[in-house]
Symmetry: none
Subunit: 526 residues, 2 copies
Amino acid sequence: MTESPSIRAHYRLRAPAHDVDRLARFIAYEQTVELPEVLITDPSILANIVGRVDSVAPVTEGVFDVCIAYQTPLASNQLGQLLNLVYGNVSMLQGIRLRALELPDSLLRQFSGPRFGISRLRTMLGVHGRPLLATAIKPRGSSLARLAEIAYEFALGGGDIVKDDQNLVDPDFESFKRRVDACAKAVASANAKSGRNCLYFPHLAAPADQIERYADFVLRSGLKGVLLCPIVLGIDSARMLSEQYGLVFMAHPALTGALTQSSEHGIAHDVLLGTLFRLAGADIGVFPATGGRFDYSRETCQSISRALREPLGALESAFPCPAGGMTFQGLKVLADDYGPDSVFLVGGALHGHASSVLQGTREFSARIAELFPEHQHCDPQTDFVSSCEFNPEQGEGVHTLLGFLPGFNWEHRQIRSYKGSGELAFDGVRRVELIGKNGEQADFDLRYFELAKGGFTSLEKHLHTHVIIVTCGAGLIQVGDESFQAKPMDVIYVPPLEVHQISNSADEPFGFFCVVDHERDRPMRP
Amino acid sequence: MTESPSIRAHYRLRAPAHDVDRLARFIAYEQTVELPEVLITDPSILANIVGRVDSVAPVTEGVFDVCIAYQTPLASNQLGQLLNLVYGNVSMLQGIRLRALELPDSLLRQFSGPRFGISRLRTMLGVHGRPLLATAIKPRGSSLARLAEIAYEFALGGGDIVKDDQNLVDPDFESFKRRVDACAKAVASANAKSGRNCLYFPHLAAPADQIERYADFVLRSGLKGVLLCPIVLGIDSARMLSEQYGLVFMAHPALTGALTQSSEHGIAHDVLLGTLFRLAGADIGVFPATGGRFDYSRETCQSISRALREPLGALESAFPCPAGGMTFQGLKVLADDYGPDSVFLVGGALHGHASSVLQGTREFSARIAELFPEHQHCDPQTDFVSSCEFNPEQGEGVHTLLGFLPGFNWEHRQIRSYKGSGELAFDGVRRVELIGKNGEQADFDLRYFELAKGGFTSLEKHLHTHVIIVTCGAGLIQVGDESFQAKPMDVIYVPPLEVHQISNSADEPFGFFCVVDHERDRPMRP
């Protein structure tokens, strides 16, 4: 048998002592070849496919811990298949709980995990050294004005993250747009007043064939994150949505209890809400707090919290977010239990605590600040600087003819300086905004770019596409996994969400026109 | 309270008698407004949003049946939200089982349900009056040749449906294509020999951002159906895939046991594997058979079977498909239990029963025929399926690089003839459609035009604008009252409704790129 590191699944079984070995072998076969032992004779299948029972240990009378090793390629580098491999068919037996999961680095490397994680989310917010305060906009049935008011007051009162209640699901796209727009504007207006960067996360829930349109709208609204229910959506669909759209992913536990709440069956809380949700990219994992409405034990909560934050390959850590009936009085215990790297999600208590959500938020914020005296606030870093965008300034007028001038310049148009700042590196780029920023009426903009020797644009991706027409020099163009040399008059199409970068590969300047949609989303990091 | 028909969710609760009313009300509030009762005072929310406890009835000591009515709009016409509404948050309590679900017609009408169902699938196969015989291609790890051979022998031996084992999940798209192609060809070749229409259903499993590409390939391969694992994929993702691509949907129960197998918690088997999978569009619902490896009770199996076939709004009935350790000897019992409108999925027993899969299939088929002497075979109607509603691409394909070729031509793109059709006069124009007509996602199109000596475009106007970049030669451009000579690299903007015409003013060809809005109005006379 190949001795490369395996996926190790730890099950707790209910079985009579005389039968446990047979049951362990049954699982190893069922989850991999789904055929009886006698029918598997091919040595390569026995060596590379069939699971291996690594250990069987008694726990109490009639209860055993069994570890089965599965060869890593059997997960096919997919989150769905990983779940299927370790628990798909045996879920249909009884008294088999998946209590722990060890994943080799070679598999972990296939997943991006949290895109922001604790550190980047803190940078976005400018909040360090204390737990974040979050709330939910509710209840469903309230007027748009009331929902927006809750968001506004929370943001103004010092809250960090305001999310939709997971029951806020709209009957159609137009309703979603109206609601999200109202709440987004409310939070933006509170932020403008406070100078802070409270984030608003809409609940992304729609039929599977429409949900990307919703995500697109969220992104184009300038929002940075979403609330997703991975078990309702499908865990890999949640991963896809947050990853493709570059959104902060707050994971809601709706429906997870169906899989976790039987102590003798199903999947352990920390495996599902911790490890698997983190693999799916959750930046914040919501779970029911001890003492709240669902009253998960302190041990369960701590296990989820650990799984979200502890080292896991090269994956970022995620914020544990206890929720579900948290009170003002309970903040001290939460602070002790979870420490600063956590999110406290307060719903009803905030609404019911004081005279208003504004006042309630102020009191909760003040209490958290008091409990974490070392905390620091600094300027939130909201903006991502990209080489292919610039802030609109005054146009240079609509002209029918932009006459070509020597050295790739045009009448009526200035060359704009083009400097990188912050995280995104780019260099040696000059840009001419030909059409689109001056009042022309078209659905697209036309720009001219020129990369000096050694110049390159930032590595980025976005929903909108590029169409490039090369005019002079020679350049290296990377689009997704492809990379090619481009020469004058080549036309290049950069599809949506493909990571791309353009570099000059010769000594003379590399020039090209670039056409983009006039209404377009902001570039994201790869 | 509005008296329109509601969604009625029936729960079985474990609770002390003195606490059951409080718990029932807790569920009604938690699942809708997620706030304590005291905080909900708005009469419209109380009337239209908060769930209503319809009944509380004791079952045994400390066990109660509770029915809660939810207003139908709360499901937002979405399968995911329906699940969230009836079990999302309360799944995180303990001892609450969703045991039945009554859905009003107004909600049922929002779902297409099984696209083929029992009757259309029979027509496709040409098989009436007996259960269908199905098998799985396995085990993973076998050579492509061996997998294809199993498919071939089963199809030739008289089998009706051959599906991939749900463990057959490929590491990449190329492997999927090779495998599916090999099995599809094997089945087609057996069908050509037998004159029957055995169907091959590949397992559609891939990262969420790639799975539509896989579905597309299945459809283009001429296959009519797929195996989907709704709980692994997300139940609405499964619906979307089968519905969008018009594929027969065979639903696999992988991972469902995590939700169904605790008798005191989770979701009843028939609700999940019957009603909800059928709402998702399952044409065939696979579940573990009594006496097989998972040994679901006869009562459980019959309840699933009923939920798949009994009247449910205007939805088609689906085939129940008992599976998981079925034997030749067991066929009689299956026949008695499920009758003709069912699918018998035989895996290991078929492989192990006789000298070959071919022989095994023949014996199983003969036995089923014997048990259902009234059965009829007729010509399969394979083209009956409107699954080809898929829109074939008219264009020349999306390509990242359109390499420039001598004489102003581009790789992957043809020159289109450009003829006047009466009203609008023009002459000597050739056109290359570079971007926009081939499936690219941009708000604009990029075309290349070239006017021969003496050539000119029609004099016209329209609401949309033109942006022109001259590449070679010299031309006269008229825009409104202006008229000017244009040279290479000049950029020209034609504003809305300005009359314009372009003419070659030299001896050599006059060439230019022209960018226009993708969605645009038709040109008008001057």
